[in-house]
Protein backbone atom coordinates (compact mmCIF):
# COMPACT_ATOMS: atom_id res chain seq x y z
CA UNK A 1 0.00 0.00 0.00
CA UNK A 2 1.03 3.56 -0.48
CA UNK A 3 1.99 5.48 2.55
CA UNK A 4 -0.35 8.04 3.95
CA UNK A 5 1.70 10.88 2.62
CA UNK A 6 2.38 11.53 -1.00
CA UNK A 7 6.11 11.81 -0.66
CA UNK A 8 7.70 12.86 -3.88
CA UNK A 9 11.34 11.99 -4.08
CA UNK A 10 12.86 13.64 -7.08
CA UNK A 11 15.23 10.74 -7.63
CA UNK A 12 12.82 8.29 -9.25
CA UNK A 13 12.47 9.98 -12.59
CA UNK A 14 16.20 10.41 -12.83
CA UNK A 15 16.86 6.80 -11.90
CA UNK A 16 14.86 5.58 -14.88
CA UNK A 17 17.31 5.02 -17.68
CA UNK A 18 16.62 7.13 -20.77
CA UNK A 19 15.52 4.04 -22.66
CA UNK A 20 13.05 2.76 -20.07
CA UNK A 21 9.44 3.51 -20.95
CA UNK A 22 7.36 5.79 -18.68
CA UNK A 23 4.67 3.14 -18.47
CA UNK A 24 5.20 -0.56 -19.05
CA UNK A 25 2.30 -2.97 -18.68
CA UNK A 26 3.07 -6.69 -18.93
CA UNK A 27 0.35 -9.33 -18.94
CA UNK A 28 -2.04 -7.03 -17.11
CA UNK A 29 -5.47 -8.38 -16.24
CA UNK A 30 -8.38 -7.17 -14.17
CA UNK A 31 -11.65 -8.65 -13.01
CA UNK A 32 -14.64 -6.66 -11.86
CA UNK A 33 -17.52 -8.42 -10.14
CA UNK A 34 -16.46 -11.79 -11.54
CA UNK A 35 -16.22 -10.44 -15.06
CA UNK A 36 -12.91 -10.31 -16.91
CA UNK A 37 -12.55 -6.63 -17.85
CA UNK A 38 -8.93 -6.77 -18.99
CA UNK A 39 -6.97 -9.74 -20.21
CA UNK A 40 -3.30 -10.08 -21.18
CA UNK A 41 -2.65 -6.42 -21.88
CA UNK A 42 0.92 -5.57 -22.88
CA UNK A 43 1.55 -1.91 -23.53
CA UNK A 44 4.41 0.55 -23.34
CA UNK A 45 4.36 4.32 -23.30
CA UNK A 46 7.65 5.88 -24.36
CA UNK A 47 8.88 9.35 -23.49
CA UNK A 48 7.36 11.87 -25.90
CA UNK A 49 4.53 9.60 -27.03
CA UNK A 50 1.03 10.90 -27.60
CA UNK A 51 -0.86 7.67 -27.10
CA UNK A 52 -4.56 7.40 -27.81
CA UNK A 53 -6.47 4.49 -26.33
CA UNK A 54 -9.74 3.79 -28.09
CA UNK A 55 -12.31 1.04 -27.82
CA UNK A 56 -16.04 0.48 -27.49
CA UNK A 57 -17.91 1.07 -24.23
CA UNK A 58 -17.01 -1.55 -21.67
CA UNK A 59 -13.70 -2.29 -23.40
CA UNK A 60 -11.80 -1.59 -20.17
CA UNK A 61 -10.30 1.76 -21.23
CA UNK A 62 -10.91 3.53 -17.95
CA UNK A 63 -9.78 0.50 -15.95
CA UNK A 64 -6.53 0.41 -17.91
CA UNK A 65 -6.01 4.08 -17.16
CA UNK A 66 -6.75 3.55 -13.48
CA UNK A 67 -4.12 0.81 -13.39
CA UNK A 68 -1.57 3.18 -14.94
CA UNK A 69 -2.43 5.76 -12.27
CA UNK A 70 -2.23 3.32 -9.38
CA UNK A 71 -5.95 3.83 -8.71
CA UNK A 72 -6.55 0.14 -9.46
CA UNK A 73 -4.25 -2.85 -9.07
CA UNK A 74 -3.59 -5.31 -11.87
CA UNK A 75 -4.31 -8.84 -10.70
CA UNK A 76 -1.54 -10.39 -12.73
CA UNK A 77 1.63 -9.44 -14.59
CA UNK A 78 3.67 -6.33 -13.90
CA UNK A 79 3.05 -2.62 -13.95
CA UNK A 80 6.09 -0.39 -14.14
CA UNK A 81 6.00 3.39 -13.91
CA UNK A 82 9.14 5.35 -14.77
CA UNK A 83 11.07 2.09 -14.63
CA UNK A 84 9.84 1.24 -11.14
CA UNK A 85 7.36 -1.33 -9.93
CA UNK A 86 4.05 0.40 -9.25
CA UNK A 87 4.01 -0.84 -5.65
CA UNK A 88 7.28 0.92 -4.94
CA UNK A 89 6.49 4.01 -7.02
CA UNK A 90 6.23 7.19 -4.95
CA UNK A 91 6.73 9.90 -7.54
CA UNK A 92 3.06 10.46 -8.21
CA UNK A 93 3.57 14.13 -8.98
CA UNK A 94 5.32 12.96 -12.17
CA UNK A 95 1.95 11.78 -13.44
CA UNK A 96 -0.78 14.34 -14.03
CA UNK A 97 -4.34 13.05 -14.12
CA UNK A 98 -7.30 14.70 -15.82
CA UNK A 99 -10.40 12.74 -14.80
CA UNK A 100 -13.70 12.52 -16.62
CA UNK A 101 -15.29 15.87 -16.05
CA UNK A 102 -18.75 14.64 -15.18
CA UNK A 103 -17.65 12.62 -12.18
CA UNK A 104 -14.80 14.81 -11.13
CA UNK A 105 -16.23 17.31 -8.71
CA UNK A 106 -19.04 19.02 -6.92
CA UNK A 107 -19.86 22.13 -8.99
CA UNK A 108 -20.98 24.13 -5.96
CA UNK A 109 -17.74 23.57 -4.08
CA UNK A 110 -16.41 26.87 -2.73
CA UNK A 111 -13.12 27.02 -4.58
CA UNK A 112 -11.66 29.48 -7.08
CA UNK A 113 -9.98 28.41 -10.30
CA UNK A 114 -6.60 29.24 -8.78
CA UNK A 115 -7.30 27.19 -5.65
CA UNK A 116 -8.26 24.20 -7.78
CA UNK A 117 -5.07 24.44 -9.81
CA UNK A 118 -2.98 24.96 -6.67
CA UNK A 119 -4.45 21.75 -5.21
CA UNK A 120 -2.51 19.93 -7.92
CA UNK A 121 0.59 20.85 -5.91
CA UNK A 122 -0.69 19.25 -2.70
CA UNK A 123 1.63 16.26 -2.95
CA UNK A 124 4.62 18.38 -3.94
CA UNK A 125 4.15 20.83 -1.08
CA UNK A 126 4.29 17.98 1.42
CA UNK A 127 2.13 16.95 4.33
CA UNK A 128 1.14 19.57 6.90
CA UNK A 129 2.94 22.32 4.97
CA UNK A 130 1.43 25.42 3.49
CA UNK A 131 1.78 26.14 -0.19
CA UNK A 132 4.99 28.05 -0.93
CA UNK A 133 5.62 30.88 -3.38
CA UNK A 134 7.06 28.30 -5.76
CA UNK A 135 3.81 26.30 -5.57
CA UNK A 136 1.79 29.41 -6.41
CA UNK A 137 4.11 30.29 -9.25
CA UNK A 138 3.83 26.79 -10.72
CA UNK A 139 0.04 26.92 -10.43
CA UNK A 140 -0.11 30.29 -12.16
CA UNK A 141 2.24 29.04 -14.86
CA UNK A 142 -0.03 26.07 -15.46
CA UNK A 143 -3.04 28.39 -15.70
CA UNK A 144 -1.20 30.48 -18.27
CA UNK A 145 -0.30 27.38 -20.26
CA UNK A 146 -3.96 26.51 -20.68
CA UNK A 147 -4.90 30.16 -21.29
CA UNK A 148 -7.07 30.52 -18.21
CA UNK A 149 -5.01 32.91 -16.09
CA UNK A 150 -7.57 35.70 -16.38
CA UNK A 151 -10.17 33.45 -14.73
CA UNK A 152 -8.03 32.71 -11.70
CA UNK A 153 -10.44 34.24 -9.18
CA UNK A 154 -13.61 32.84 -10.75
CA UNK A 155 -15.51 30.11 -8.92
CA UNK A 156 -14.82 26.76 -10.59
CA UNK A 157 -18.55 25.99 -10.81
CA UNK A 158 -19.16 29.20 -12.77
CA UNK A 159 -17.13 28.16 -15.81
CA UNK A 160 -18.29 26.42 -18.96
CA UNK A 161 -17.44 22.74 -19.42
CA UNK A 162 -14.64 23.54 -21.85
CA UNK A 163 -13.12 26.05 -19.46
CA UNK A 164 -13.43 23.68 -16.53
CA UNK A 165 -11.68 21.00 -18.52
CA UNK A 166 -8.78 23.34 -19.21
CA UNK A 167 -8.59 24.20 -15.51
CA UNK A 168 -8.38 20.50 -14.68
CA UNK A 169 -5.54 20.15 -17.17
CA UNK A 170 -3.82 23.07 -15.45
CA UNK A 171 -4.32 21.32 -12.11
CA UNK A 172 -2.68 18.20 -13.52
CA UNK A 173 0.16 20.30 -15.01
CA UNK A 174 0.75 22.19 -11.76
CA UNK A 175 3.01 19.49 -10.39
CA UNK A 176 5.02 19.69 -13.64
CA UNK A 177 4.50 16.03 -14.55
CA UNK A 178 6.38 14.18 -17.28
CA UNK A 179 3.26 12.20 -18.12
CA UNK A 180 -0.27 13.50 -18.53
CA UNK A 181 -3.14 11.02 -18.45
CA UNK A 182 -6.57 12.11 -19.66
CA UNK A 183 -9.82 10.15 -19.40
CA UNK A 184 -12.46 11.09 -21.99
CA UNK A 185 -11.58 14.77 -21.57
CA UNK A 186 -13.89 16.14 -24.25
CA UNK A 187 -17.16 14.59 -23.11
CA UNK A 188 -19.71 17.39 -22.79
CA UNK A 189 -17.38 19.95 -24.36
CA UNK A 190 -18.66 21.72 -27.50
CA UNK A 191 -16.90 21.26 -30.85
CA UNK A 192 -15.14 24.62 -30.95
CA UNK A 193 -13.75 24.17 -27.44
CA UNK A 194 -12.68 20.67 -28.41
CA UNK A 195 -10.54 22.03 -31.22
CA UNK A 196 -8.84 24.47 -28.84
CA UNK A 197 -8.39 21.63 -26.45
CA UNK A 198 -6.59 19.38 -28.92
CA UNK A 199 -4.47 22.35 -29.97
CA UNK A 200 -3.39 22.67 -26.36
CA UNK A 201 -2.52 18.97 -26.14
CA UNK A 202 -0.51 19.21 -29.38
CA UNK A 203 1.49 22.11 -27.98
CA UNK A 204 2.15 20.30 -24.71
CA UNK A 205 3.33 17.25 -26.57
CA UNK A 206 5.41 18.86 -29.29
CA UNK A 207 6.76 21.99 -27.63
CA UNK A 208 7.14 20.85 -24.05
CA UNK A 209 7.76 17.19 -24.64
CA UNK A 210 5.03 16.12 -22.23
CA UNK A 211 4.09 12.51 -22.76
CA UNK A 212 0.34 12.11 -23.20
CA UNK A 213 -2.05 9.21 -22.76
CA UNK A 214 -5.57 9.98 -23.84
CA UNK A 215 -8.58 7.70 -23.55
CA UNK A 216 -11.54 8.42 -25.79
CA UNK A 217 -14.26 6.82 -27.81
CA UNK A 218 -14.08 9.64 -30.34
CA UNK A 219 -12.16 7.56 -32.89
CA UNK A 220 -12.01 10.09 -35.70
CA UNK A 221 -10.50 12.92 -33.67
CA UNK A 222 -8.11 10.66 -31.82
CA UNK A 223 -6.71 9.03 -34.94
CA UNK A 224 -5.96 12.48 -36.37
CA UNK A 225 -4.16 13.78 -33.28
CA UNK A 226 -2.13 11.01 -31.69
CA UNK A 227 1.26 9.56 -32.61
CA UNK A 228 0.51 6.09 -31.24
CA UNK A 229 -2.79 4.29 -31.13
CA UNK A 230 -3.93 1.43 -28.93
CA UNK A 231 -7.20 -0.31 -29.71
CA UNK A 232 -8.59 -1.98 -26.64
CA UNK A 233 -11.40 -4.45 -26.37
CA UNK A 234 -10.68 -6.19 -23.06
CA UNK A 235 -7.35 -7.06 -24.59
CA UNK A 236 -5.11 -5.08 -26.89
CA UNK A 237 -6.26 -5.75 -30.46
CA UNK A 238 -3.88 -3.22 -32.02
CA UNK A 239 -0.92 -1.11 -30.97
CA UNK A 240 0.94 1.04 -33.47
CA UNK A 241 0.71 4.19 -35.52
CA UNK A 242 -2.74 5.55 -36.40
CA UNK A 243 -1.98 5.29 -40.13
CA UNK A 244 -1.25 1.61 -39.72
CA UNK A 245 -4.44 1.11 -37.73
CA UNK A 246 -6.49 2.55 -40.55
CA UNK A 247 -4.55 0.76 -43.30
CA UNK A 248 -4.82 -2.66 -41.68
CA UNK A 249 -8.46 -2.09 -40.82
CA UNK A 250 -7.84 -2.67 -37.11
CA UNK A 251 -10.27 0.04 -36.05
CA UNK A 252 -13.00 -1.11 -38.38
CA UNK A 253 -12.55 -4.71 -37.20
CA UNK A 254 -12.84 -3.74 -33.57
CA UNK A 255 -16.09 -1.91 -34.15
CA UNK A 256 -17.51 -4.28 -36.78
CA UNK A 257 -20.24 -5.71 -34.64
CA UNK A 258 -20.60 -2.56 -32.70
CA UNK A 259 -22.97 0.22 -33.66
CA UNK A 260 -21.34 2.43 -31.02
CA UNK A 261 -18.99 3.94 -33.57
CA UNK A 262 -21.90 5.50 -35.39
CA UNK A 263 -23.77 6.66 -32.33
CA UNK A 264 -20.73 8.22 -30.75
CA UNK A 265 -19.70 10.38 -33.65
CA UNK A 266 -21.31 13.76 -33.32
Amino acid sequence: MRTFEASPTASTAASATPASPLVALEHVCFRYGGEQVLHEVNLEVQIGDFLGIIGPNGAGKTTLLRIMLGLARSECGHVRLFGQDVRAFRDWHQIGYVPQKAVAFEARFPASVFEVVLSGRTGVAGLARRFSAADREAALGALETVGMAEYRDRLIGRLSSGQQQRVFIARALASQPALLVLDEPTVGVDVEAQEQFYGLLRRLNRERGTTLVLVSHDVGVIAAEVTRLACLNRTLVFHGSPEEAIRTGAIARMYRDDSLLVTHRH
Partner: protein
Protein backbone atom coordinates in the same frame (compact mmCIF):
# COMPACT_ATOMS: atom_id res chain seq x y z
CA UNK B 1 -30.39 44.42 29.99
CA UNK B 2 -29.34 44.60 33.63
CA UNK B 3 -30.72 41.11 34.02
CA UNK B 4 -28.37 39.99 31.27
CA UNK B 5 -25.35 41.53 32.95
CA UNK B 6 -26.38 39.90 36.18
CA UNK B 7 -26.56 36.62 34.36
CA UNK B 8 -23.06 36.99 32.95
CA UNK B 9 -21.64 37.20 36.45
CA UNK B 10 -23.19 33.85 37.19
CA UNK B 11 -20.77 30.92 37.39
CA UNK B 12 -23.14 28.36 35.85
CA UNK B 13 -24.03 30.68 33.05
CA UNK B 14 -20.46 31.55 32.25
CA UNK B 15 -19.55 27.88 32.20
CA UNK B 16 -22.50 26.88 30.07
CA UNK B 17 -22.15 29.79 27.65
CA UNK B 18 -18.45 29.21 27.15
CA UNK B 19 -18.93 25.45 26.73
CA UNK B 20 -21.71 25.97 24.21
CA UNK B 21 -19.65 28.47 22.24
CA UNK B 22 -16.68 26.09 22.14
CA UNK B 23 -18.93 23.31 20.91
CA UNK B 24 -20.30 25.62 18.20
CA UNK B 25 -16.84 26.57 16.95
CA UNK B 26 -15.57 23.00 16.61
CA UNK B 27 -18.71 21.55 15.11
CA UNK B 28 -18.94 24.52 12.70
CA UNK B 29 -15.47 23.84 11.31
CA UNK B 30 -15.72 20.05 11.10
CA UNK B 31 -19.33 20.18 9.93
CA UNK B 32 -18.25 22.30 6.96
CA UNK B 33 -16.12 19.46 5.66
CA UNK B 34 -18.91 16.95 6.28
CA UNK B 35 -21.38 19.09 4.32
CA UNK B 36 -18.97 19.72 1.45
CA UNK B 37 -18.25 15.99 1.23
CA UNK B 38 -22.03 15.47 1.00
CA UNK B 39 -21.89 13.61 4.27
CA UNK B 40 -24.38 15.77 6.13
CA UNK B 41 -26.00 12.67 7.57
CA UNK B 42 -22.70 11.24 8.78
CA UNK B 43 -22.85 13.48 11.84
CA UNK B 44 -26.31 12.14 12.67
CA UNK B 45 -25.11 8.56 12.39
CA UNK B 46 -21.97 9.16 14.45
CA UNK B 47 -23.66 11.08 17.24
CA UNK B 48 -26.38 8.44 17.62
CA UNK B 49 -23.68 5.79 17.58
CA UNK B 50 -22.19 7.44 20.67
CA UNK B 51 -25.00 6.36 23.00
CA UNK B 52 -24.04 2.69 23.53
CA UNK B 53 -20.49 3.86 24.26
CA UNK B 54 -21.71 6.18 27.01
CA UNK B 55 -23.78 3.37 28.57
CA UNK B 56 -21.08 0.70 28.29
CA UNK B 57 -18.47 3.02 29.76
CA UNK B 58 -20.80 3.53 32.72
CA UNK B 59 -21.54 -0.19 33.10
CA UNK B 60 -17.86 -1.11 32.97
CA UNK B 61 -16.53 1.55 35.30
CA UNK B 62 -19.55 2.42 37.43
CA UNK B 63 -18.61 6.07 37.28
CA UNK B 64 -20.44 9.02 35.76
CA UNK B 65 -17.30 11.08 35.29
CA UNK B 66 -17.88 12.84 31.93
CA UNK B 67 -14.34 12.20 30.72
CA UNK B 68 -14.85 8.43 31.08
CA UNK B 69 -18.29 8.41 29.49
CA UNK B 70 -17.13 10.61 26.62
CA UNK B 71 -14.16 8.34 25.97
CA UNK B 72 -16.66 5.49 25.67
CA UNK B 73 -18.73 7.65 23.35
CA UNK B 74 -15.72 8.36 21.15
CA UNK B 75 -14.87 4.68 20.82
CA UNK B 76 -18.41 3.71 19.90
CA UNK B 77 -18.72 6.66 17.47
CA UNK B 78 -15.57 5.53 15.78
CA UNK B 79 -16.75 1.92 15.61
CA UNK B 80 -19.98 3.16 14.03
CA UNK B 81 -17.96 5.01 11.40
CA UNK B 82 -15.76 1.98 10.75
CA UNK B 83 -18.83 -0.25 10.40
CA UNK B 84 -20.42 2.24 8.03
CA UNK B 85 -17.40 2.54 5.73
CA UNK B 86 -16.76 -1.19 5.78
CA UNK B 87 -20.31 -2.16 4.82
CA UNK B 88 -20.42 0.49 2.06
CA UNK B 89 -17.14 -0.81 0.68
CA UNK B 90 -17.93 -4.52 0.87
CA UNK B 91 -21.56 -4.64 -0.21
CA UNK B 92 -23.70 -3.12 -2.91
CA UNK B 93 -26.03 -1.49 -0.40
CA UNK B 94 -26.22 2.26 -1.00
CA UNK B 95 -24.50 4.57 1.45
CA UNK B 96 -27.67 6.26 2.74
CA UNK B 97 -29.27 2.90 3.49
CA UNK B 98 -26.20 1.77 5.40
CA UNK B 99 -26.27 5.06 7.32
CA UNK B 100 -29.89 4.40 8.30
CA UNK B 101 -29.03 0.90 9.46
CA UNK B 102 -25.91 1.85 11.45
CA UNK B 103 -27.75 4.74 13.11
CA UNK B 104 -30.71 2.60 14.17
CA UNK B 105 -28.66 -0.38 15.31
CA UNK B 106 -26.28 1.64 17.46
CA UNK B 107 -28.95 3.95 18.83
CA UNK B 108 -31.31 1.04 19.48
CA UNK B 109 -28.59 -0.82 21.35
CA UNK B 110 -27.86 2.35 23.31
CA UNK B 111 -31.51 2.70 24.33
CA UNK B 112 -31.60 -0.96 25.42
CA UNK B 113 -28.56 -0.36 27.62
CA UNK B 114 -30.00 2.89 28.94
CA UNK B 115 -33.24 1.15 29.90
CA UNK B 116 -31.33 -1.71 31.50
CA UNK B 117 -29.28 0.74 33.54
CA UNK B 118 -32.27 2.76 34.68
CA UNK B 119 -34.13 -0.43 35.72
CA UNK B 120 -31.26 -1.35 38.03
CA UNK B 121 -32.40 1.56 40.11
CA UNK B 122 -29.14 2.40 41.87
CA UNK B 123 -28.48 6.03 42.55
CA UNK B 124 -25.36 6.19 40.40
CA UNK B 125 -27.30 5.89 37.16
CA UNK B 126 -29.25 9.10 37.67
CA UNK B 127 -28.59 11.57 34.91
CA UNK B 128 -27.24 9.21 32.29
CA UNK B 129 -30.21 9.91 30.05
CA UNK B 130 -29.19 13.57 29.89
CA UNK B 131 -26.88 12.42 27.11
CA UNK B 132 -29.95 11.98 24.91
CA UNK B 133 -30.85 15.66 24.61
CA UNK B 134 -27.97 17.08 26.58
CA UNK B 135 -28.12 19.08 29.76
CA UNK B 136 -25.81 22.01 29.69
CA UNK B 137 -26.62 22.92 33.27
CA UNK B 138 -24.62 19.89 34.39
CA UNK B 139 -21.47 21.40 32.87
CA UNK B 140 -18.78 22.31 35.35
CA UNK B 141 -15.62 24.29 34.74
CA UNK B 142 -13.58 21.10 34.44
CA UNK B 143 -15.79 19.93 31.55
CA UNK B 144 -15.31 23.21 29.75
CA UNK B 145 -11.55 22.85 30.06
CA UNK B 146 -11.79 19.35 28.58
CA UNK B 147 -14.01 20.66 25.77
CA UNK B 148 -11.53 23.44 25.03
CA UNK B 149 -8.62 21.00 24.93
CA UNK B 150 -10.45 18.61 22.62
CA UNK B 151 -11.65 21.50 20.46
CA UNK B 152 -8.12 22.82 20.14
CA UNK B 153 -6.96 19.35 19.12
CA UNK B 154 -9.63 19.13 16.42
CA UNK B 155 -8.95 22.62 15.06
CA UNK B 156 -5.21 21.99 15.09
CA UNK B 157 -5.75 18.87 13.00
CA UNK B 158 -7.74 20.88 10.47
CA UNK B 159 -5.06 23.58 10.30
CA UNK B 160 -2.33 20.97 9.93
CA UNK B 161 -4.07 18.96 7.18
CA UNK B 162 -6.06 21.82 5.68
CA UNK B 163 -4.96 21.44 2.07
CA UNK B 164 -5.24 17.66 2.23
CA UNK B 165 -8.77 17.78 3.71
CA UNK B 166 -9.76 20.39 1.14
CA UNK B 167 -8.49 18.24 -1.71
CA UNK B 168 -10.24 15.19 -0.25
CA UNK B 169 -13.53 17.09 -0.08
CA UNK B 170 -13.19 18.53 -3.58
CA UNK B 171 -11.98 15.54 -5.58
CA UNK B 172 -11.00 12.35 -3.72
CA UNK B 173 -10.15 10.48 -6.92
CA UNK B 174 -7.65 13.16 -7.92
CA UNK B 175 -6.22 13.03 -4.40
CA UNK B 176 -5.64 9.29 -4.89
CA UNK B 177 -3.91 9.96 -8.20
CA UNK B 178 -1.53 12.29 -6.34
CA UNK B 179 -0.50 9.35 -4.19
CA UNK B 180 -2.67 10.00 -1.15
CA UNK B 181 -4.33 7.15 0.66
CA UNK B 182 -7.78 8.73 0.63
CA UNK B 183 -9.23 5.96 2.77
CA UNK B 184 -6.87 6.76 5.59
CA UNK B 185 -7.21 10.49 5.02
CA UNK B 186 -11.01 10.15 5.15
CA UNK B 187 -10.76 8.10 8.32
CA UNK B 188 -8.57 10.78 9.86
CA UNK B 189 -11.10 13.49 8.99
CA UNK B 190 -13.91 11.33 10.38
CA UNK B 191 -11.93 10.74 13.58
CA UNK B 192 -11.52 14.48 14.04
CA UNK B 193 -15.27 14.84 13.44
CA UNK B 194 -15.84 12.26 16.18
CA UNK B 195 -13.88 14.53 18.54
CA UNK B 196 -16.16 17.43 17.58
CA UNK B 197 -19.23 15.30 18.27
CA UNK B 198 -17.96 14.14 21.64
CA UNK B 199 -17.50 17.78 22.64
CA UNK B 200 -21.21 18.39 22.12
CA UNK B 201 -22.71 15.32 23.76
CA UNK B 202 -23.06 16.78 27.25
CA UNK B 203 -24.55 20.02 25.98
CA UNK B 204 -26.88 19.14 23.11
CA UNK B 205 -26.93 15.33 23.32
CA UNK B 206 -26.78 12.56 20.76
CA UNK B 207 -30.14 13.31 19.15
CA UNK B 208 -29.58 16.97 18.28
CA UNK B 209 -25.83 16.95 17.70
CA UNK B 210 -26.16 16.43 13.94
CA UNK B 211 -27.78 19.85 13.59
CA UNK B 212 -24.71 21.46 15.18
CA UNK B 213 -22.56 19.97 12.44
CA UNK B 214 -24.78 20.74 9.47
CA UNK B 215 -26.40 24.06 10.46
CA UNK B 216 -23.36 26.36 10.79
CA UNK B 217 -21.89 24.97 7.54
CA UNK B 218 -25.09 25.54 5.58
CA UNK B 219 -25.44 29.08 6.94
CA UNK B 220 -21.77 29.89 6.27
CA UNK B 221 -21.87 28.62 2.69
CA UNK B 222 -24.54 31.25 2.01
CA UNK B 223 -22.22 34.10 2.93
CA UNK B 224 -18.99 33.13 1.20
CA UNK B 225 -17.60 31.12 -1.68
CA UNK B 226 -14.17 30.51 -0.21
CA UNK B 227 -13.57 27.47 1.92
CA UNK B 228 -11.18 29.22 4.31
CA UNK B 229 -13.74 31.97 4.99
CA UNK B 230 -16.53 29.43 5.16
CA UNK B 231 -14.77 27.65 8.04
CA UNK B 232 -14.40 30.92 9.94
CA UNK B 233 -18.01 31.96 9.35
CA UNK B 234 -19.26 28.48 10.32
CA UNK B 235 -17.25 28.67 13.55
CA UNK B 236 -18.77 32.11 14.27
CA UNK B 237 -22.31 30.91 13.52
CA UNK B 238 -21.75 27.88 15.74
CA UNK B 239 -20.35 29.98 18.55
CA UNK B 240 -23.15 32.55 18.28
CA UNK B 241 -25.83 29.83 18.36
CA UNK B 242 -24.20 28.17 21.36
CA UNK B 243 -23.88 31.47 23.20
CA UNK B 244 -27.35 32.81 22.45
CA UNK B 245 -29.01 29.44 23.07
CA UNK B 246 -27.33 29.23 26.45
CA UNK B 247 -28.22 32.83 27.36
CA UNK B 248 -31.87 32.47 26.34
CA UNK B 249 -32.34 29.19 28.17
CA UNK B 250 -30.78 30.51 31.37
CA UNK B 251 -32.68 33.78 31.31
CA UNK B 252 -35.97 31.90 31.59
CA UNK B 253 -36.77 29.11 33.97
CA UNK B 254 -37.47 25.69 32.46
CA UNK B 255 -35.99 26.29 29.01
CA UNK B 256 -33.67 23.42 27.99
CA UNK B 257 -30.25 24.59 26.76
CA UNK B 258 -29.48 22.04 24.05
CA UNK B 259 -32.74 22.51 22.14
CA UNK B 260 -32.50 26.30 22.59
CA UNK B 261 -29.04 26.23 20.98
CA UNK B 262 -30.47 24.29 18.06
CA UNK B 263 -33.37 26.75 17.72
CA UNK B 264 -30.98 29.72 17.74
CA UNK B 265 -28.92 27.98 15.11
CA UNK B 266 -32.02 27.34 13.02
CA UNK B 267 -32.89 31.04 13.18
CA UNK B 268 -29.40 31.93 11.93
CA UNK B 269 -29.68 29.36 9.13
CA UNK B 270 -33.07 30.71 8.03
CA UNK B 271 -31.78 34.28 8.06
CA UNK B 272 -28.77 33.21 5.98
CA UNK B 273 -30.90 31.32 3.49
CA UNK B 274 -33.14 34.35 3.06
CA UNK B 275 -30.81 37.32 3.25
CA UNK B 276 -27.32 36.34 2.15
CA UNK B 277 -26.12 38.39 -0.82
CA UNK B 278 -26.04 36.55 -4.17
CA UNK B 279 -27.32 33.27 -2.76
CA UNK B 280 -30.15 34.32 -0.44
CA UNK B 281 -33.73 33.72 -1.59
CA UNK B 282 -34.75 37.37 -1.17
CA UNK B 283 -31.65 38.61 -2.98
CA UNK B 284 -32.35 36.19 -5.79
CA UNK B 285 -35.96 37.26 -6.07
CA UNK B 286 -34.99 40.91 -6.24
CA UNK B 287 -32.31 40.36 -8.86
CA UNK B 288 -34.01 37.71 -10.90
CA UNK B 289 -35.49 40.08 -13.43
CA UNK B 290 -32.96 41.29 -15.96
CA UNK B 291 -30.08 39.64 -14.16
CA UNK B 292 -30.86 36.12 -15.21
CA UNK B 293 -28.36 36.08 -18.05
CA UNK B 294 -25.17 36.87 -16.11
CA UNK B 295 -25.92 34.34 -13.44
CA UNK B 296 -25.54 31.23 -15.53
CA UNK B 297 -22.33 31.14 -17.53
CA UNK B 298 -22.71 27.35 -17.43
CA UNK B 299 -25.53 27.73 -19.89
CA UNK B 300 -23.69 29.95 -22.33
CA UNK B 301 -21.05 27.52 -23.56
CA UNK B 302 -17.32 28.20 -23.67
CA UNK B 303 -16.91 31.94 -23.34
CA UNK B 304 -13.22 31.99 -24.15
Amino acid sequence: MSALIELLGDYTLRTVALGSALLGITSGVLGSFAVLRRQGLLGDVLSHAALPGVCLAFLLTGTRTPAVLLAGAAVSCWLGAAALFRVVEETRVSEDSVMGIVLSVFFGFGIVLLTFISKRGDAAQAGLNTYLFGQAATLVWENVVTMAALGLLAIAAVVLWYKEFKLLAFDPEFATSLGYNTRRLGLLLTSVTVVAIVIGLQTVGVVLMAAMLVGPAVAARQWTSRLSRMLVVAALVGALSGLSGALISMSQPRLPTGPMIILSLTALVVVSLLLAPERGLLWERRHRRGRRRDRGPEASGDGA
